[in-house]
């Protein structure tokens, strides 16, 4: 039994697929989901509108997690020298303990708290009488044991409900210690509609409490920050390897393998390169407004995209020496990439993929599939907003609903002493006229083929139906979705934490990914679904000896 869909014609019309999926829902749910399932009819400049960043329907088995997961798990999790103390019952701290594959190099200073879980383990008495005292003691105990540069406090659901003032506790302890920055995140799981709210809460506090704390000028000629790269499976290491080879200095990665000091120095960089638009584009905006650092969208997923992003960075600095180095590096790296690609592509050409992941990955990873000659027939995000689908031009028109209203937007002004535009208006104008795009992201939809199906906040039932109806050769989502898809005989690649393997970013990452996809879609295991007697039952009637 093979699930390979070798025909060029889809077995199902997209409109019929959509109708088939909606059929099972109660009317109210069907109406809501209809707006989140979009048949891509992008023509010319018209991008159809999709409903996104709205509430998950209770009872529907969603892929989404919570605000705490986005704040503690995703954004602050990969920072190695901050003690991340979770204020709440034990579970939230336990589940976010080493469960994302953020690789970490403890570096020469040797501080690495990634392998630890810290919790106040709130008990019923704390819920009844308040947990501020226990939190205060826990912060003191963490300080006495480890003397970290910084302690971050994370609120879990009950903390907001019982009204513990974690920010005041943090402020008091910071003042008391003098040499340890303590701050808190009101990232209760019930806030917002997905992890995305947690990214925002985390980034706001990093910007407010850490960025700008260290004015020391770091060495380096071409200084950038890499925003929205979390070093899953070592992606950040590979990107840093390439930067180093090109002579580009990465002042701060937000937040893979990061340190407190990287955040503190981020305002000293001269360009912000944004990887994951969803999780961090607002930080790029704030860094520009407050410190005068322009930002561009980059993508290091895919070898061609990597080369393009490097050239974009070089073009910004406008220095021939850098341009030459970047071209030399690309020329050095690409032969191995192309050799692997042509080897693998013979076995992947024409195969189909579905991607339902993240707030950027469902877009970025299409680059790699294109390089393999594979077609993405359906894709969508778990926690993205409309601008991630349709492009940034929709941002002014986005409606702020009841769930988004409570997620703080920081108002930033130019820093009175440290605001320093990195480019003169003339330089910016020249770059723009040459086709250079700042603050620009077109989103996923324009890059997908007509007739492809774009689905926001896909759920387990829809995933199963999609796979049954369209029979892709590969499905990509998260760990919770992995095995229900594979039970159907279709390989599934986890693209949040990758299960295993990586890096997949940069040039070496592309080679890794080609081999991984080759392994997945061409594995022998998918031919073992039925036993011989199940395939040919008619032959099992009697004993026949040769």
């Amino acid at each position: 039994m093979s699930s390979t869909n070798n025909t060029d014609q889809p077995a199902w019309e997209p409109a019929k697929v959509k109708a088939e999926i909606l059929k099972r829902y109660p009317a109210k749910v069907a109406r809501k989901r209809a707006k989140q399932i979009l048949i891509n009819e992008a023509l010319g400049n018209e991008t159809p509108e999709i409903s996104a960043n709205i509430r998950t329907t209770p009872g529907i088995i969603t892929m989404r997690g919570c605000t705490y997961a986005g704040c503690k798990g995703v954004i602050m999790g990969p920072t190695r020298d901050i003690v991340n103390l979770v204020h709440g019952p034990i579970g939230c701290s336990f589940y976010a303990w080493l469960t994302r594959r953020n690789q970490t190099d403890a570096g020469p200073d040797g501080a690495n708290f990634m392998t630890y879980a810290f919790s106040t383990d709130m008990q019923d008495s704390d819920i009844i009488f308040g947990g501020e005292k226990k939190l205060t003691t826990a912060i003191q105990e963490a300080y006495d044991l480890f003397h970290p540069k910084s302690i971050a406090i994370f609120a879990t659901c009950p903390v907001g409900l019982i009204g513990d003032d974690i920010h005041t506790v943090a402020k008091r302890m910071k003042e008391k210690f003098g040499d340890c920055n303590v701050y808190a995140f009101s990232c209760e799981g019930y806030k917002g509609v997905s992890q995305s709210a947690g990214h925002h809460i985390a980034n706001n506090q990093v910007f407010r409490h850490i960025v700008g704390e260290n004015d020391e000028v770091k060495p380096g000629r071409y200084k950038i920050n890499l925003l929205g790269e979390y070093n899953i499976g070592g992606d950040g290491f590979e990107i840093d390897r390439i930067f180093k080879k090109c002579g580009i200095t990465n002042i701060a990665t937000f937040s893979g393998n990061s340190t407190y000091d990287q955040f503190a120095s981020a305002h000293t960089a001269d360009l912000n390169a944004v990887m994951c638009h969803r999780s961090i584009n607002y930080v790029a905006d704030m860094l520009e407004t407050k410190y005068g650092i322009p930002w561009i969208k980059v993508n290091f997923i895919g070898a061609d995209a990597t080369a393009k992003s490097l050239r974009k960075i070089a073009q910004y600095f406008g220095d021939q020496a850098l341009t030459d180095t970047v071209e030399r590096v690309i020329a050095e790296e690409m032969p191995a990439v192309l050799a692997a690609r042509s080897d693998v592509r013979a076995r992947t050409e024409g195969k189909t993929a579905m991607l339902f992941v993240g707030g950027s990955r469902a877009h970025h990873y299409q680059e790699l599939f294109t390089e393999l000659g594979m077609k993405t027939i359906s894709a969508g995000y778990e926690f993205a907003h409309r601008d991630d689908y349709e492009g940034r031009q929709v941002i002014p028109t986005l409606e702020v609903d009841a769930d988004s209203r409570n997620i703080e937007e920081i108002r930033v002004e130019a820093d009175p002493t440290r605001y320093q535009p990195r480019k003169t208006p003339e330089e910016l104008k020249a770059l723009t006229e040459a086709g250079y795009k700042f603050k620009h992201y077109e989103g996923l939809i324009p890059d997908m083929e007509q007739g492809s199906i774009v689905i926001d906040d896909l759920n387990q039932y829809e995933a199963e139906r999609l796979v049954e109806l369209l029979k892709p050769d590969l499905f990509c989502a998260g760990i919770k979705e992995k095995f229900s898809i594979q039970k159907l005989g279709v390989p599934m690649k986890q693209l949040h934490s990758y299960d295993s393997g990586g890096p997949y970013a940069g040039f070496l990452g592309a080679i890794n990914f080609y081999h991984e996809i080759d392994r997945l879609v061409n594995s022998r295991v998918w031919s073992y679904m039925k036993a011989p007697w199940q395939q040919h039952p008619e032959l099992s009637a009697s004993y026949v000896w040769e």
């Binding site: 989404r64 879980a117 826990a138 879990t156 799981g189």
Partner: protein
């Protein structure tokens, strides 16, 4: 060093837990509910709870874990989660059509005081529960007890489905505790060999150790049925394995429906399995077949064959109370020396049981209920051991201290086999012993100088 900031010097902490040896109640309730046939576990709280529990169980079992959530928003947290729960019930029956929805609460819904019984009444009154379908619920506040408590609470909610008819069914209720699907299968095999008719609940065998065949069944064949659960009130008795996991449900059936109960340790290792078989024999009035005596003899044989490698080897272990009690007894029965024992689940009786089991040893064991892995690591630094037994998180201690590790307990995220090969009963004892010996002997082979590296061990 991976845990480079852990000092040898131990200072008492009163508020800070570091590297917990437990997690929260709801995941236990979710695991237990998966042991009901046709059941969709439902988490009444923020969607992150459900996502985390599903992820952890998925990584442990490498199987699909279907469970739904009330997806609380800030509004629901202020005004109560009833509207979300009612909407969820509609959607769940329409889209997934389970036989049972097993709802558990979270710290969020408990803190705001949602009353699941009242919500269920409202759902019934509004005709939201189709005929023949069931909703059960358990209160599982994350700020009380641990994942073990949540498991126990959901198992008790299963028992509460009991509807005695007044006519005995001739069966024994067996509550296997928080063990693996393979262990539940093994307990059923032993019951069959003994000729004991039983209702085993929960039963995750056939649910979380499923085949790959090109089909996805959201509700696989396995699990105890609602019909069987209703019949537990007619059983001749209940045998509960594990004081922490199973006793509450058994005692409830005893108190409420006069189904007499016995509580035993989980049948890990020789002596606990001896008691399990012996009590079963007595309760059911059956004689023990030769096959079981043979299996016991094989376990004793291996203990005697390899005793030289076990004798006085020092062990540190961490896990859930029922598991730790049985495992400590097994280690003592092997003439091994359990030195440091930690569980994260609170309960004074735990320390008393461990002290009783280890009272004849020529040293004082370190034991702590409501301890954490940070403390265990510090104990190991102060009094080194030869072997570490615990869940996957122990690999960080094992690597730093260069210790052989036997993975045992929950969760195991980096090795496979626990869902297929039992560790209960005599057969399971053989497997545990094999794992312990392999860990010790692999280490011996790795470390032996060339002149004393030996072919035969």
């Amino acid at each position: 060093m991976l845990l480079r900031h852990t000092p040898k010097e131990i200072t008492e902490r009163s508020a800070l837990t570091i590297n917990p040896a437990k997690t929260c109640q709801p995941i236990g309730a979710m695991y237990a509910a998966l042991g009901i046939h046709g059941c969709l576990p439902h988490s009444h709280g923020s969607q992150g709870c459900c996502a985390y529990h599903r992820s952890t169980l998925t990584r442990h079992y490498k199987e699909p874990i279907s469970a739904s959530t009330s997806s609380f928003t800030e509004g629901a947290s202020v005004f109560g989660g009833q509207a979300n729960m009612l909407q969820a019930i509609d959607n769940i029956f329409a889209v997934y059509d389970p036989e049972v929805i097993a709802i558990h609460t979270t710290c969020l819904s408990e803190t705001i005081g949602d009353d699941l019984k009242q919500i269920k009444k409202k759902a019934e009154a509004e005709g939201k529960i189709p005929k023949g379908k069931e909703i059960i619920s358990a209160s599982t506040p994350s700020y009380v007890g641990s994942h073990v408590t949540g498991f126990s609470s959901m198992v008790t909610s299963m028992a509460k489905l009991a509807e005695p008819t007044g006519k005995k069914n001739g069966k024994l209720n067996i509550i296997p505790g928080w063990v693996e699907p393979a262990d539940m299968e093994e307990i059923k095999r032993l019951l069959n060999l003994l000729g004991v008719r039983s209702i085993l609940f929960p039963d995750t065998s056939g649910v979380l150790n499923g085949p790959l065949s090109g089909e996805f069944k959201m509700f696989p064949e396995g699990g105890v049925t609602v019909k069987e659960l209703k019949s537990t009130g007619d059983s001749i008795g209940t045998l509960a394995l594990g004081e922490w996991c199973s006793a509450e449900a058994a005692r409830w059936l005893d108190a409420k429906h006069k189904v007499p109960c016995r509580v035993l340790d989980l049948p890990y290792g020789l002596k606990a399995t001896d008691r399990f078989i012996d009590v079963l024999r007595t309760l059911a009035g059956v004689s023990v077949p030769e096959e079981i005596a043979l299996e016991r003899g094989q376990l004793v044989d291996m203990i005697s064959d390899m005793h030289q490698y076990l004798y006085h080897q020092k062990v540190a272990l961490v896990g859930d109370p029922d598991q730790m009690i049985a495992m400590t007894e097994f280690l003592v029965s092997l003439d091994m020396w359990p030195m440091h024992i930690v569980t994260g689940t609170p309960g004074k009786r735990f320390e008393e049981r461990i002290e009783a089991i280890t009272k004849d040893l020529p040293y004082q064991v370190n034991v702590r209920a409501k301890g954490d892995m940070y403390l265990l690591h510090q104990w190991i630094k102060n009094d080194p051991v030869d072997l570490l037994i615990g869940n996957t998180y122990c690999k960080y201690i094992a690597r730093d201290e260069d210790l052989p590790l036997v993975r045992f307990g929950f969760p195991i995220l980096d090795r496979q086999g626990h869902q297929y090969f039992p560790t209960v009963g005599y057969k399971g004892g053989l497997r545990l012993l094999e794992k312990i010996l392999s860990a010790l002997l692999d280490r011996k082979d790795r470390d032996a100088p060339e002149q004393s590296f030996e072919l035969v061990l």
